[in-house]
């Protein structure tokens, strides 16, 4: 009775050994796979955390930039960022932000809740939660003026964004913020392209001047009344100067105020693709995007300037005293009194004319006229930028003839004015021109 029990015991032992061996082998394999998987997972998590916190910081920068733009647009000093810098300085009137002391506050669970180490500065964007993290944005002056200086002399400031994400990840990014700009306007009326139809009108009670703000602007600054491209265009435009004394540029009078600006114009203005991309940007930024049916009352005024983008032709058939940035892709036709303070882009079909009753309208700022719509006279079609022949890639690209034409006895003033231009361009948003990831 004893022997069989012993045999059974031996068999059981052998199976146990085998089972233990197999189990330990499988366990070893499992552990090895787990270790590798965990390493991979941790690597992915670290990578993800790093990306998340970077994008959080970048979001903070963008949020800060837009908040700054809105604050500036709502302030009394549209053209200056001094008010915003003073606000950012906080009660002690001094910008205390120091990137070395700026740090994150965590709760008991290790989750980021706020930031500290910036004195009594007021963030341009207070601590904001987004997903699993937080960010805040701070405003300082730029290094040219001095980071802590409250006097912004160059429309250039710095936004610092700090973000904290999961796993105590943290990132600071800095951006230099400037207002969106356009190249300088080389003349009071710039007409791009060949043989422009330029006519200053036949009345003698008018004034077209390239002197900055008719002499009230920057002393000594004057530009051509009409700037055109090429000697032939200049000769053509000069034919339509009536009452030469009413065309002024410094000491120049009459035909001498019309110049070939080929050598001085910013090359960007001659780049059709730039003009088209600028049109799209203006459309994106516009307070009013409309068409021929857009009410004239919705255009900006001198007191409340706007960015207005009109797709297609537009008739000014009631009196308008507008201000800001006006972009028309079709023909701009004024049959009633039309005045504008700011910049007017007739870029598309590039045709502007003013008739009879519109004779009293006055303009302060700058006009830019360019016919880039091609022979079909419609913007955003295949023949854009193809000149008059509709064929892309040949010598007459990219402009067709433009028109700036005032009929009859106009009695208004057309003046180049940097202050009016600046007021209009102040409506453009701030952009991040430089970026630093710390």
């Amino acid at each position: 009775m004893t022997a069989p029990r012993q045999r059974r015991t031996r068999e059981t032992g052998s199976a146990m050994v085998m089972a233990m061996f197999v189990l330990s082998l499988l366990t070893g394999m499992g552990i090895a796979l787990l270790v590798v998987t965990e390493i991979e997972m941790r690597m992915h998590q670290a990578d993800l955390r790093s990306k998340v916190v970077f994008y959080l910081a970048e979001a903070g920068l963008e949020d800060g930039r837009e908040t700054l733009r809105q604050a500036n647009n709502a302030s009394a000093n549209l053209g200056s960022l001094d008010d915003e810098l003073l606000d950012a300085a906080g009660p002690n009137g001094r910008i205390d932000l120091d990137l070395d002391t700026l740090s994150v506050l965590y709760d008991a669970d290790g989750q980021p809740v706020d930031f500290t180490g910036y004195g009594d500065d007021v963030p341009v964007r207070a601590t904001t939660r987004l997903g699993d993290g937080i960010y805040a944005a701070f405003l300082t002056n730029d290094a040219v003026d001095g980071l802590a200086d409250l006097d912004d002399t160059n429309d250039r400031v710095q936004v610092v964004s700090i973000a904290a994400g999961p796993g105590r990840s943290r990132r600071i990014v800095q951006g230099i913020i400037e207002r969106h700009g356009v190249p300088e306007f080389p003349a009071a009326i710039t007409i791009l392209g060949p043989l422009p139809d330029f006519d200053g009108g036949s009345g003698d009670a008018k004034l077209l001047t390239g002197d900055d703000c008719n002499g009230a602007g920057v002393p000594g600054l004057s530009v051509p009344v009409a700037g055109v491209i090429g000697a032939a265009a200049e000769a053509e435009a000069e034919l339509h100067i009536a009452f030469p004394d009413r065309f002024r540029q410094g000491i120049e009078r009459g035909p001498d105020t019309v110049d070939d600006i080929t050598g001085i114009i910013d090359p960007a203005w001659l780049d059709c693709n730039y003009l088209k991309s600028l049109a799209l940007e203006v459309r994106d930024l516009a307070d009013v995007v409309g068409d021929s049916s857009t009410p004239k009352a919705s255009l900006g005024t001198v007191a409340d300037p706007k960015i207005v983008y009109i797709e297609g032709d537009y008739d000014i058939n009631v009196d308008v005293d507008g201000g800001g940035v006006l972009w028309i892709t079709g023909d701009l036709h004024a049959t009633s009194e039309f005045s504008w303070t700011g910049v007017v882009f007739v870029v598309g079909t590039g045709q502007f004319w003013r008739q009879m009753a519109a004779e009293r309208g006055s303009y302060s700022g700058a006009f830019l006229v360019a016919n880039i719509a091609g022979p079909d006279g419609v913007m955003w079609t295949a023949d854009d930028c193809s000149g008059s022949d509709g064929v892309l890639g040949n010598a007459d690209d990219p402009f067709g003839p433009g028109m700036w034409h005032i009929s009859s006895f106009n009695r208004g003033t057309t003046e180049y004015c940097t202050a009016s231009i600046a007021d209009a361009l102040d409506l453009f948003p701030f952009v991040t021109t430089e970026f630093r990831q710390r």
């Binding site: 082998l25 394999m29 090895a32 590798v36 730029d142 430089e434 630093r436």
Partner: protein, 193 residues
């Protein structure tokens, strides 16, 4: 009776042979399993290493690329310089210490791929330091490396793509092929107005 009773407790030759054969079969299959598992582990580890190599290198290059052109004093620092729109080297400039130049450490960084490694120089004339090894940049394995940097223009680019393909130092034991992993990103460069 005691002697006779002890005989059944042993194994017959047949029993022994059968049990040895069963044991040998089990051991062989387990050994195969172990070898396969070990190879899988090695392959997994290799994949992780290759991936880490490419992504870490990319992250380091991106950090410098994103900050290229940092010009707090507005002196007109050129942010990015490439020999061609598509190339294997790039020069990145920034004025981090706000002194109006890019002469200091980390302010003029050149990154280049040389043979199977990526190296960088953190200041003009400084030493070249290897950033990553086993970089082939041959993502499709056709034997021809793709350019590491792909900009929208050679001069004043507004966007630069970086593509890094790392390769395992040894071929995969199971497949006999090298493992590759490509990490890539495009960076929109901020540009002055």
């Amino acid at each position: 009776m005691r002697r006779l009773g002890s005989i059944p407790r042993g194994f017959s030759l047949v029993e022994l042979l059968i049990s040895m054969a069963v044991f040998a079969l089990a051991t062989a299959s387990l050994a195969g399993l172990m070898i396969q598992s070990s190879q899988m582990n090695k392959a997994q580890q290799m994949r992780a290493d290759v991936q880490s190599n490419a992504t870490t290198c990319l992250a380091l290059v991106l950090q410098d690329l994103r900050s290229a052109g940092w010009d707090p004093l507005n002196v007109g620092i050129e942010g990015v310089r490439l020999p061609a729109a598509q190339s294997d080297s790039i020069e990145l400039f920034a004025d981090f210490n706000e002194d109006g130049d890019t002469d200091d450490q980390d302010e003029a960084v050149t990154v280049r791929r040389v043979a199977d490694r990526i190296e960088w120089q953190r200041s003009t004339g400084g030493p070249w330091v290897t950033l990553a090894e086993h970089i082939t940049n041959d993502a499709d394995g056709d034997g021809t490396p793709e350019p590491m940097f792909d900009a929208d223009a050679a001069v004043d680019p507004t966007e630069v793509g970086v593509r890094i393909t790392a390769q395992s130092p040894l071929p995969n034991h199971r497949t006999g092929e090298y493992m590759r992993y490509t990490a890539e990103a495009r960076v929109a460069l901020r540009e002055g107005l």
